[in-house]
């Protein structure tokens, strides 16, 4: 991958991101058309040969430990496997009922819903639907409630149960860091058959319908994930009914968050309102006490002030009286002195 093309890719992602911020994408659920220009993967199960290259690539990209049986051991395909905390994707084998030519292989991983149930169930917002289409998880805010495991209609998220200290929820990231780097998801990069096609979701849906139109005998006329649970960014084509290759056919087209938002909206209320309520009561009590104290202080002050004022008045009167007395005394003394002096001078002149 040359740096130029990476730059280009980054440019797109930015454009996609910017477009996503526009109010168009920010409608309430049910009306949400998904992020425009988001990416996805089309898995054409008629082309998959069960080579497990995608599993090996996923293991390498995510630095998982090597599994017990190596990736070129095809015997693991004999059992129906699930993803776990050390493996984000598995390929399962389904034998056709009508003893047809060959078995069908189907890759399983996070479908990256347009409106992810995991994200709506998470009351700390650990899951984010990125504008690129991937649903990513932030372990730093996760409280480990695992509501996401229950909420997911595809049973995708798994949990690090053997991690004693900081267990995380584990699921496919659609190689979000690689996407931002201008690279394909690991599994798509590795698929030797072109059974996985990466592209803009809208284009992939067109591609899928085009394949059905061109080969009506090869495909079931249905693109799984186009409408299921409100649409997913991973979509699928199959030659036999989807329920025969491990898909849940009865999920409906309503986004999971729409079904659960009523109940789930109570979570923030319970989690959020109680502290606020108790805090409020506390604050109110505190305020009341403060006011009472203030009133008391003022009353005291007023009383003190009044006493002081009376005292001051009396003091003033007393001092004025004293002053008057003093002046009278001075006057009297001056008069007496003047009278004495007058008498004395009369004596001397006679």
């Amino acid at each position: 991958m040359s740096s130029t093309s990476r730059r280009n890719f980054m440019k797109w992602i930015t454009v996609a991101g910017t477009a996503a911020i526009l109010p168009k994408g920010a409608k309430a659920h049910g009306q949400f058309d998904g992020y425009p220009n988001s990416y996805g993967v089309l898995h054409d199960t008629t082309l998959c040969i069960g080579c497990r290259s995608c599993e090996a690539a996923c293991n390498e990209v995510n630095d998982f430990p090597q599994p017990e049986k190596p990736f070129d051991d095809k015997s693991v395909l004999d059992e129906k496997r699930q993803t776990n905390d050390k493996c984000y994707t598995v390929v399962n084998k389904y034998e056709k009922d009508n003893n047809a030519k060959s078995p069908v292989f189907r890759k399983f991983q996070c479908n990256h819903c347009k409106e992810p149930a995991c994200a709506s169930a998470c009351f700390v917002g650990a899951f984010t639907k990125t504008p690129e289409g991937a649903v990513v998880y932030d372990a730093t805010v996760c409280v480990g409630c695992r509501y996401c495991l229950i909420a997911c209609p595809f049973y995708v998220p798994t949990y690090e149960y053997d991690e004693a200290l900081e267990p995380r929820v584990m699921k496919c990231t659609m190689c979000h860091p690689r996407l931002l780097d201008g690279k394909l998801p690991g599994c798509v990069e590795a698929c030797p058959q072109g059974a996985l096609t990466f592209g803009k979701r809208e284009d992939l849906i067109k591609t899928a319908h085009e394949r059905i139109r061109k080969h009506p005998d090869r495909y079931i006329d249905h693109v799984y994930g186009e409408k299921e649970v409100g649409g997913t960014n991973w979509i699928y084509l199959s030659g036999i009914p989807f329920e025969e290759i491990g898909f849940h056919a009865s999920l409906g087209t309503t986004p999971a968050p729409e079904l659960t938002s009523g109940a789930l909206s109570m979570v923030p209320i319970v989690i959020g309102v109680w502290p606020a309520l108790l805090g409020g009561i506390y604050v109110m009590t505190q305020r009341k006490e403060k006011i009472a104290a203030e009133e008391k202080a003022e009353a005291v002050k007023n009383a003190v002030d009044a006493t002081q004022a009376t005292a001051n008045e009396e003091m003033k009167k007393a001092s004025e009286k004293a002053k008057q007395n003093k002046e009278k005394a001075v006057e009297k003394a001056v008069k007496e002195a003047l009278d004495k002096a007058t008498k004395q001078s009369g004596k001397e002149s006679s």
Binding site: M1, I49, P192, Q193, G194, A195, L204, T207, K214, I271
Partner: protein
């Protein structure tokens, strides 16, 4: 703000989670037992559903499933024949109805069944013979114990020929038309047609249904001559059907049909018909069909007699163009030819191509005869049009055999495996053999270099077709999304063809890509260098 739980809190929730999931697992693992297995039903080709009351509106008991062959055998055991249960009509033919001639229903028929069935069952029981039920619920079962495996029966050219030979080509034994004036069935030479054109799935007025007529006439004849199948299984059991003797390449049925014909529009449309006529080898096509009805679905008339350019009521509004080109129809030219593409020899290339796509020169492959306007000047007698027969076809190349590379070296994965040496010429030779062994394939692959397009698709034909890497990028190119990269393109072509032709299905890389020899690592072509074509 409020999300300030500490790590210890998370660990505790984690442990509680583990415990609760363990409990759930225990409950789940103990609750998955106790599924009763459905009782297996007996598969029989001879089941007749007796529902005599349906029209009377009384359905208090379920209909009876009646195993006919079981009863035929039982009666034969007693030394009796069909007359034990069936009456003969005025033509001395057994009626297909039970103990009556007309298609009655209602209480009298219910009584007829109850009286006779139960009486016979009781008689056999007292005679210590194997016998049927005598209580209501054992015949009128809510949950059936048997299910019909009846296969549709019909004539093909082989079976028709065997009947022709057997009856010394006396067509009148089976074929007839209804004469309105004489009010009777008469045979007219050259007017023979398929039974099914008149005898429809359901009886109309006094014309019997196909089912009635075949059981009345076929079975009676077989019984009379003591030849051919005489019970249900003989015609309607899958295994017995397979065992019916077939004649390889049976002679053509002789009904004055054309050997060769210029397919054209109907006479009133001759002026407005734009496309040239289609020289059509009727005789050759007879060999690739099983019955006349494969094409002549409603009568043995020419297509244009019902299907006109504009369409009319007679042709059920289906225009001549659609009648000849409808992809979804089994009777149309293009529809039938399209189906041949899924034959093993053809599917390798054609399964990769868009279904039903016609090439730009498709019209001129068939419409090579004189124009409808000139048709009058051509001697239109059927058997003298051999000049218009297409030449025996062969695959044509615009270049010499020597210009075809023997092998193609594909080195895209040479960092992991030895480069693949694809036997290019062998692939072409195999396809050539397949095409030339089939008249149909030969006819449709006569355009120059068309054989190359199985792999070198979506590009001009010619000596040097564009390389795969001209369109399919080796590496991910985000400016061409969604795209098929080179490796996927190679694998889809190779696997697609090999799987369709039922050669193999593998996910074992080393079947094509030889393991890399360590010492030879230096000489391998660079990765992503699409293979050089070796001579």
């Amino acid at each position: 703000m409020m999300i300030t739980m500490d790590i210890k809190g998370r660990s505790i929730t984690g442990f509680l989670g583990i415990i609760s999931i363990l409990i759930v697992l225990c409950v789940v693992s103990f609750s998955g037992c106790g599924q009763s297995e459905a009782t297996s039903l007996e598969m029989r080709p001879d089941i007749i559903e007796i529902d005599a009351v349906l029209s009377a509106g009384d359905t208090t008991r379920p209909a009876v499933l009646f195993p006919h062959d079981m009863h035929t055998d039982g009666i034969a055991e007693q030394g009796k024949d069909c007359s034990r249960c069936h009456l003969k009509d005025t033509d001395n033919q057994f009626s297909t109805k039970y103990m009556r001639l007309s298609d009655d229903r209602g209480q009298s028929v219910i009584d007829l069944y109850h009286d006779n069935c139960i009486t016979c069952h009781n008689e056999r029981k007292s005679a210590n013979m194997s016998s049927g039920p005598v209580v209501c619920g054992e015949c009128h079962r809510g949950e059936p114990i048997m299910v019909s495996s009846r296969q549709q029966m019909g004539f093909d050219y082989s079976l028709h020929n065997r009947h022709e030979t057997e009856n010394n080509s006396d067509c009148s034994l089976c074929h007839h038309v209804y004469d309105e004036e004489k009010k009777e069935l008469v045979y007219i030479k050259g007017q023979e047609t398929s039974c099914r054109f008149c005898h429809l799935p359901q009886a109309v007025d006094n014309v019997l249904s196909m089912r009635q007529v075949s059981h009345q006439y076929c079975v009676s004849c077989h019984l009379g001559k003591d030849k051919g199948p005489q019970n249900c299984a003989g015609c309607h059991d899958k295994k017995m059907q397979m065992a019916i003797k077939t004649i390889e390449d049976p002679p053509r049925i002789n009904r004055n049909q054309p050997d060769f014909v210029l397919l054209s529009v109907a006479a009133p449309d001759l002026e407005s018909g734009k496309l040239n006529t289609v020289p059509f080898a009727h005789d050759a096509h007879e060999r690739f069909t099983n019955t006349c009805r494969d094409c002549h679905h409603n009568s043995l008339k020419a297509c244009k007699d019902c299907h006109t350019l504009a369409g009319n009521e007679l042709g059920e509004g289906i225009t001549l163009r659609r009648a000849m080109h409808d992809l979804s129809s089994d009777h149309s030219c293009v529809g039938c030819h399209e189906k041949q593409k899924s034959e093993l020899e053809c599917s390798g290339c054609h399964s990769l191509m868009e279904q039903g796509r016609l090439s730009e020169y498709a019209c001129t492959v068939c419409h090579t005869g004189p124009s409808p306007a000139d048709l009058a000047s051509v001697n239109s007698h059927y058997r003298s049009l051999d000049a218009f027969r297409p030449e025996p076809a062969s695959v044509k190349m615009s270049f010499s055999d020597d210009d075809i590379p023997d092998t193609t070296i594909i080195g895209i994965l040479s960092d992991k495996y030895e480069p693949v040496s694809m036997a290019h010429k062998k692939h072409i030779e195999r396809l050539m053999t397949n095409i030339e062994s089939s008249k149909l394939a030969g006819h449709f692959h006569r355009h120059e270099d068309v054989i190359c397009q199985g792999c070198h698709h979506n590009s001009p034909v010619g000596e040097k077709p564009p390389r795969c890497a001209s369109c399919h990028n080796i590496q991910f190119d985000e400016t061409h999304l969604p795209e098929l990269r080179l490796q996927g393109a190679y694998h889809q072509q190779c696997f697609g063809c090999h799987q369709s032709m039922k050669n193999e299905q593998t996910s074992d890389c080393v079947k094509c890509h030889a393991e890399k020899s360590i010492s030879d690592g230096v000489t391998s072509p660079d990765r992503f260098d699409e293979g050089v074509i070796n001579e």
